[in-house]
């Protein structure tokens, strides 16, 4: 008899413990694929300015999404903050986000950098562009992404693995611009020109180009910034391709409010705060990225790279075509 009562007591205790955390109203819970050192200062600032505490957990984008999905209606996440529009598109596709109608967000963020259905919003921009070895290549030899497949670059191209979502999004955008078969040709020609097996990180790509293992490669701008910060003497420079055509391929880091968010209004407020010029500068500066807000100030180093025409195709198409892009890269032998 006593056993049964004890069991019930334990159950009640467990359940009560589950209840307590959810009654804290003044907080927002963020699941973030952006690393801790990039978000903590910003969230601390937000807590100081508004009094709302931001609790967060960091992780890999795909893993976080699966976690929110598995947690279902009982998820603790109010916001999913992640990198790459492909990931955001998938999160929306899986029903993880709810649409948010906010004039502030619509005003602050250009339309090609947010979901057409208002489920997610870009908060910073990164360009995936061409880097080259200044000792062996002059900028006149470079033109477009596709051009990297031409015979003159044989044995001189260095790329990151196709498994990284940034390259998947790049390929997806190429599919939008050129169609499936032409893009497969392009990717095949890239693979043909590789000087070495694809690397697991952009930084290694850059170091390889600097060391002379290759002469050109495709990387995200902030990796360039970080590396040059650490080792200023390297013979590397950025090139903005396709300025007469569609422009530089850009991608975003962004966020959306989860479908079962418990603190919906606080979440929207946080997003709006993050899209305002002051927070935008901090958000972008912390990783040498570009802010989405047109009026936010640029990091001095980022500014020194010069301005460029960016591709205005809505970034959500990266996600739409991600699966196709991966299959295409697999077929083309791009590891």
């Amino acid at each position: 008899m006593t056993g049964k009562y004890i069991a019930m007591l334990i159950m009640v205790a467990i359940v009560t413990l589950g209840v307590i955390p959810s009654t804290f109203a003044d907080e927002v819970v963020v699941y973030s694929a952006r690393k801790e050192h990039l978000i903590k200062p910003l969230f601390d600032l937000y807590a100081k300015e508004t009094g709302t505490k931001v609790r967060y957990i960091t992780g890999n984008a795909g893993v976080l999404m699966q976690r929110i999905k598995a947690e279902g209606s009982r998820t603790r996440a109010d916001i999913l903050l992640t990198v790459d529009a492909g990931n955001l598109w998938h999160a929306a596709d899986e029903g993880l986000f709810q649409p948010v109608k906010s004039r502030v967000l619509e005003k602050n963020i250009p339309s090609h950098l947010r979901d057409p259905d208002n489920r997610w919003f870009g908060l910073s921009v990164r360009a995936r562009t061409i880097a080259y070895n200044t000792d062996r290549v002059s900028p006149e030899e470079l033109s477009t992404y596709e051009n990297l497949g031409s015979p003159k670059w044989k044995g001189r191209l260095v790329l990151r693995t196709s498994k990284k979502v940034y390259n998947q999004s790049l390929t997806a955008m190429l599919i939008v611009e050129h169609g499936l078969s032409k893009t497969e040709e392009i990717i095949r020609s890239w693979v043909h020109n590789l000087s070495t097996e694809p690397f697991s990180s952009d930084t290694k790509v850059l170091e390889s180009i600097a060391a002379g293992q290759g002469d050109v490669g495709i990387i995200n701008t902030y990796y360039f910034g970080r590396l040059m910060n650490k080792k200023p003497g390297l013979p590397l420079a950025l090139f903005w391709p396709d300025q007469d055509g569609n422009g530089v391929h850009v991608n975003i880091s962004g966020a959306g409010v989860t479908t079962h968010a418990r603190h919906r209004d606080e979440a929207i407020k946080l997003l709006e705060w993050l899209s305002a010029p002051a927070a935008q500068t901090i958000f972008a500066d912390s990783n040498m990225e570009y802010p989405v807000h047109n009026d936010a100030k640029l990091h001095s180093i980022v500014k020194s790279w010069g301005s460029f025409r960016e591709n205005f195709i809505n970034v959500s198409r990266s996600g739409e075509l991600q699966a196709e892009a991966i299959k295409l890269m697999d077929r083309a032998g791009y590891r």
Partner: protein, 544 residues
């Protein structure tokens, strides 16, 4: 009541509580495994077709290459070093005996990024060599590099278990062979080695399981294996079904390995603890062999431990200023706590499993054991989801009950607690724990039990006074191995950790995934320094 029953049932004819516990545990382990296998029934059509057309052959070839390559190298390294330190005598033997275990403290993925950082084309070393027109190493970022790194990281498993065999039987086997007219070399290959085969097989099993399940090291090398394909299917194609199907293939590989190992293990001779008899009589090596032994042992130690540690120290001193923060004490604390809790629980469960197998040495026991230890071959990410889903369901049930009984809407109760993490760890790391304890258990022969009973000791007191001292070595090894494994664990922790429960392994991953290898050196070095302690304790047990 149960306790009294245990005492009288130590050599039972009918099912005991041991078997019940073992069965319950196996059932619990089957839940995530079945969820993974059941996903095979969900149509993954498109994705599966694509993967099988473009990647599957390469995956199988690559996996086989790794399995054969790493298996061979670790076998050679482990057996040769074990023989030298367990049976022979040469200058520095005592030092090498324990120091050759040190690579256990190194996560394979850390060794991977350290060696790549040292030996890849753009590393400072290679740049220097090129500048002086010296010969350079090319093609490190290939299957050879992966085999090299994995072998250096995993040979201690074979080393540990082979030492176990040789220190009890090695010298004796040699003497027996010599008395029959064989030379020492013939004696080694014809008698000592075959007699040690079950132990060596046990060690190789652990190695191959680690190879199958590894994700960190192969990602850093960008080497395509099943784990990277599973990751791509799951997080690239968002097809849980395709990921699960690939996982099922891994499970089949694991079962095959387990099957082979089990059949070799069943031929294990149950010997008594006759170590003392020839503790002092070692095989003294003469002249050239002595030099060879010392150089060989030193070379392995140098390459697998000393050089990587030096590189890590260099990187740490460069990045310490901007990487270190007070949060590192939190990371360390979390790693320690998780390691200790898991080690304790696994030792307990492994004891139960082993006793169950001992009292019921039948097919059912070996099946139960196989199920319980299979988790070692599954990649952490896969296991995490396999556990996640039932936990989410359980949470749903509890929440509905709470809603009905108390009219409240509670947050997740089990999810996002360390309960899920530890449960996943237990399923994942049962194998190394069980292997050590079971090997010790087999030393307790029936005759020991019967003698004890005739002397009036039975039941739990017999467990304490007779069994436990004999099992102590195995328990220690198990606890140390599991502790180190949990501290190094990355995928499960990443996926299931509660808020603010970052560990050192998580930190390493975050930094290496951003290409920040120099910054990752700090948590890596911390992890290794902490890991050395249980490894050192482990070697005290293994030492003669």
């Amino acid at each position: 009541m149960i306790i009294r029953r245990l005492g009288s049932n130590l050599l039972p004819a009918r099912p005991s509580a041991w078997r019940l516990f073992a069965a319950l545990f196996a059932a619990a382990v089957m839940i995530p495994l079945s969820i993974i296998l059941l996903s095979f029934t969900k149509p993954a059509g498109d994705v599966w077709r694509h993967l099988s057309q473009t990647l599957l052959t390469d995956l199988i070839i690559n996996t086989l290459k790794l399995a054969i390559g790493v298996g061979t190298v670790t076998a050679i390294l482990g057996v040769s070093l074990a023989w030298l330190t367990a049976v022979c005598e040469f200058p520095g033997r005592k030092f090498f005996t324990w120091s050759l275990f040190l690579p256990l403290a190194f996560p394979t993925y850390v060794l991977a990024f350290v060696f790549l950082g040292m030996l890849d084309y753009s590393s400072p070393l290679q740049i220097l060599l090129r500048q002086h027109s010296l010969p350079t190493l090319s093609g490190f970022r290939s299957s050879w590099g992966v085999i090299f790194v994995m072998s250096l990281s995993l040979y201690p498993y074979v080393y540990l278990l082979a030492r176990d065999a040789f220190s009890t039987q090695g010298k004796r086997a040699l003497e027996a062979a010599q008395s029959l007219g064989h030379t020492k070399t013939e004696g080694f290959f014809k008698v000592a080695l075959p007699m040690a085969r079950p132990w060596i097989a046990g060690g190789l099993m652990l190695v191959l399981m680690e190879v199958l399940a590894d994700f960190g090291a192969v990602s850093i090398f960008n080497y395509d294996t099943f784990t990277t394909a599973i990751y791509k299917a799951w997080f690239g194609f968002f097809s849980l079904a395709a990921a699960a199907q690939l996982s099922s293939i891994l499970v089949v590989f694991a079962l095959i390995i387990l099957g082979i190992e089990n059949s070799l293990r069943s031929r294990m001779q149950f010997t008594s603890m006759g170590r003392d008899a020839f503790r002092k009589e070692r095989l003294h090596l003469g002249g050239a062999m002595k030099v060879f032994a010392v150089s060989y042992a030193f070379l392995i130690l140098f390459v697998s431990f000393v050089v990587p540690v030096i590189q890590l120290i260099l990187w740490t001193t460069a990045s310490f200023r901007y990487e270190f923060s007070s949060r590192y004490f939190d990371f360390l604390g979390h790693s320690l706590v998780l390691g200790i809790i898991t080690a304790a629980i696994i030792c307990l469960l492994a004891l139960i499993l082993s006793y169950a197998g001992r009292h019921h040495p039948d097919i059912l026991s070996s099946i139960l054991t196989r199920i319980c230890t299979m988790g070692y071959a599954l990649p952490g990410t896969v296991l995490a989801i396999g556990i996640f889903i039932p936990v989410a369901a359980a949470d749903g049930f509890l929440a509905d009950a709470a809603g009905a009984l108390l009219n409240v809407e509670p947050g997740p109760v089990l999810q996002g607690t360390i309960f899920v993490m530890v449960a996943a760890y237990i399923v994942r790391f049962m194998a190394p724990g069980f292997n050590s304890i079971d090997s010790s258990m087999r030393r307790i022969t029936r005759s020991i039990d019967e003698s004890a009973r005739t002397l009036g000791s039975k039941g739990l007191p017999m467990l304490y006074r007779i069994h436990l001292p004999i099992l102590k070595g195995g328990l220690f090894s198990a606890a140390a191995l599991v502790f180190v494994d949990v501290m190094k664990e990355m995928p499960i922790t990443l996926m299931t950790r509660p808020f603010g429960w970052d560990t050192l392994a998580v930190k390493i991953f975050e930094l290496t995934s951003e290409g920040e290898w120099e910054r990752a050196a700090l948590p890596a070095l911390t992890l290794i320094l902490v890991g050395i302690i249980p490894v050192a304790l482990l070697t005290r047990q293994a030492d003669d």
